[in-house]
């Protein structure tokens, strides 16, 4: 799902106090305008942002933190609430989607800070599914399963770097900014994450 809408002609960044008062279609409004509207307290803009980016945020959270759906829902709500509060700080550097996913990654980081939660997350790795698919398909499914287990076993920092950059296609510079780290650090983490995942997959295959 491509939740990011292209900017309208002229790059309009006018905050919307009331979205319905503008009588404009939500699809015509850029993410930046919606975020600016959030900055002045427009809950309708927040709803529109939620509609556009909910799936991406949910997917990121579910990949970063394997947990019950209810807990993921709570984190989704917490992420958008943080977006609502942080909207005034958005300076237009990078895409709004990167801004949102960075906030989601930080929410997860705060959420799993406790060791108990981390252990629970690691334990909550789903068991490999046994299917009667043909060999090639079954082999591919096994690889994906190994990757899922390896990803869940990665440290959160490496996992966040990998998910943001490789799975959510966030540019490295933006990912480093939203995570609050230097670009070099991000590249190092990304490199370590890829290597660990490959080793995990190859090791399981051997």
């Amino acid at each position: 799902m491509n939740a990011t809408k292209p900017k309208p002609e002229g790059g309009q960044l006018v905050p919307l106090r009331r979205l319905d008062e503008r009588r404009a279609a939500v699809s015509d409004i850029s993410d930046e305008a919606l975020l600016a509207a959030c900055g002045v307290g427009d809950t309708a803009a927040l709803g529109a942002l939620f509609d556009r980016h909910h799936d991406a945020v949910y997917r990121l959270l579910s990949r970063l933190l394997r947990s019950e759906p209810d807990e993921i829902d709570d984190l989704v709500q917490l992420t958008f609430l943080e977006v609502w509060r942080s909207a005034k700080r958005y300076r237009g550097r990078g895409a709004v989607r990167s801004f949102l996913l960075g906030i989601a990654a930080n929410v997860v980081r705060h959420h799993v800070r406790g060791a108990a939660r981390r252990r629970a997350a690691l334990v909550d790795v789903p068991a490999p599914a046994c299917s009667g698919a043909p060999d090639a398909v079954a082999m591919r499914a096994q690889l994906v399963q190994r990757l899922a287990i390896a990803l869940a076993q990665l440290p959160l920092d490496l996992r966040a770097a990998y998910v943001l950059c490789d799975l959510e296609d966030i540019p490295g510079v933006e990912a480093a900014r939203v995570l609050g780290i230097r670009a070099g650090t991000l590249w190092r983490r990304l490199h370590e994450a890829r290597r660990a995942l490959r080793e995990a997959i190859d090791g399981g295959a051997r």
Partner: protein, 406 residues
């Protein structure tokens, strides 16, 4: 198996994730919007931090204020240097006021020399008597008799005199202020006859000089008796020989004397404020003169008695016996027929003895002497002042005097 990062990324793109049900998603959306609208109204962390900082600041300010309040007040030092005569009676009180330091030197008698340096704004150094207050800077001298201000002499600097019920008087360096004195001349008469009081009331022979003096005193007396306060309380300024002469001098314009009870001049201090002497010696002389004078008066020699009693009264100390000596001097002068001098002595007595039991008698005597000169209005005022005397005989005499002159 996985040879490069692109293959790993392709594999990762197949990672499953459970898309939430629409109902759950809508529930999250609704909860989010409600939470967002509530968080808008909720105070932020910044608000809490600001409140905390403000509270801490207020607490610190309160602590500092408390420390300042509990800090002991510094010693209040006197801003004036005071030199007082041995006979001077004075008290000194230094207090801290909201505006500065207030130093009051309460003088009841004697001569006090003050040296007051430059004062800060709000500081005051004052000399107080029963009837006046003097405030100044520099060096000035204050003389007080019977708890009343008699003279102020500014040696250097300036001073302001504030007398109850009168306008303030400003004195610059070198100026002297003296209380106005209206009394008779107590110098011995050049010629005197000694008729009895009874005969003197009907008419007596006196020298031309005495007559002139009597007329002058009568004028002055009449003017002051016209003043209601003077008539009822008889609180005339005390005797001073130089000023009494000035008051009686025919060349002085009456308006100058009547303008105020105070006068300014650049003269030296009055001679009446004699140099301080040991109290015991003065008291002994007073008693001796008084005793001799009374013996002479009882022996029928009023002329000599008046001289002795006058010497006792002029002993120079503030003593009830001196006041009595003045009274009996007036009696002796009356008996000796020197009515003008008797009048002056009576006025001096009334001025110096505001609480004496003889005031009523003295007032009646004075009223009779004035009435003999024909100044009925002035005599009536003195009679009226004796109507409330504790002695019934004196009150009756005053009443009879008023009735006889209707």
């Amino acid at each position: 198996m996985i040879e490069n990062d692109d293959q790993l990324r392709d594999l990762a793109s197949e990672l499953p994730w459970e898309r939430p049900e629409p109902a759950r998603r809508d529930a999250v959306r609704s909860a989010l919007l409600v939470a967002a609208s509530e968080s808008d109204r909720r105070p932020t962390m910044r608000w809490y931090v600001m409140c905390g900082v403000f509270a801490a600041g207020a607490l610190a300010a309160a602590c500092v204020l408390l420390l300042l309040v509990q800090k002991p007040q510094p010693y209040v030092a006197s801003a004036a240097r005071i030199d007082a005569s041995e006979a001077a009676q004075l008290e000194r009180k230094v207090t801290r006021t909201p505006t500065g330091i207030d130093e009051v030197v309460r003088v009841r008698a004697g001569r006090v020399n003050l040296g007051v340096g430059a004062l800060r704004a709000g500081d005051h150094v004052r000399v107080a008597t029963r009837d006046a207050e003097v405030e100044g800077e520099g060096q000035y001298e204050v003389a007080v008799q019977a708890d009343r201000l008699s003279e102020v002499r500014v040696i250097q600097g300036h001073a302001t005199i504030r007398i109850t019920g009168q306008q303030s008087v400003f004195l610059a360096s070198g100026q002297t202020w003296r209380a106005t004195v209206i009394t008779g001349d107590l110098t011995p008469p050049r010629q005197h006859v000694e008729p009895s009081p009874a005969t003197s009331s009907t008419g007596s022979v006196s020298s031309s000089a005495d007559r002139i003096g009597a007329q002058e005193v009568a004028k002055v007396r009449a003017r002051h008796i016209d003043h209601p306060i003077a008539a009822t309380t008889a609180t005339f300024p005390r005797a001073a020989s130089d000023q009494s002469n000035r008051a009686a001098a025919p060349t002085e314009h009456p308006a100058v004397r009547d303008k105020s009870a105070a006068s300014m001049s650049s003269e030296e201090p009055a001679a009446s404020i004699s140099a301080p002497q040991p109290i015991a010696t003065a008291r002994k002389q007073l008693e001796q003169h008084f005793k001799t004078g009374m013996q002479l008066l009882k022996a029928g020699n009023p002329a000599a008695a008046s001289r002795e009693l006058g010497a006792a009264a002029d002993a120079g100390i503030d003593d009830p016996l001196a006041a009595d000596a003045r009274y009996f001097q007036a009696v002796a002068l009356t008996k000796s027929g020197r009515k003008t001098e008797a009048e002056r002595a009576l006025v001096a007595f009334l001025d110096h003895a505001p609480t004496s039991i003889r005031r009523g008698r003295a007032a009646v005597m004075l009223a009779r002497l004035i009435a003999e000169r024909g100044d009925i209005a002035a005599a009536r005022a003195w009679f009226e002042s004796a109507l409330g005397d504790a002695d019934a005989a004196v009150a009756a005499a005053a009443k009879a005097g008023i009735a006889a002159r209707h």
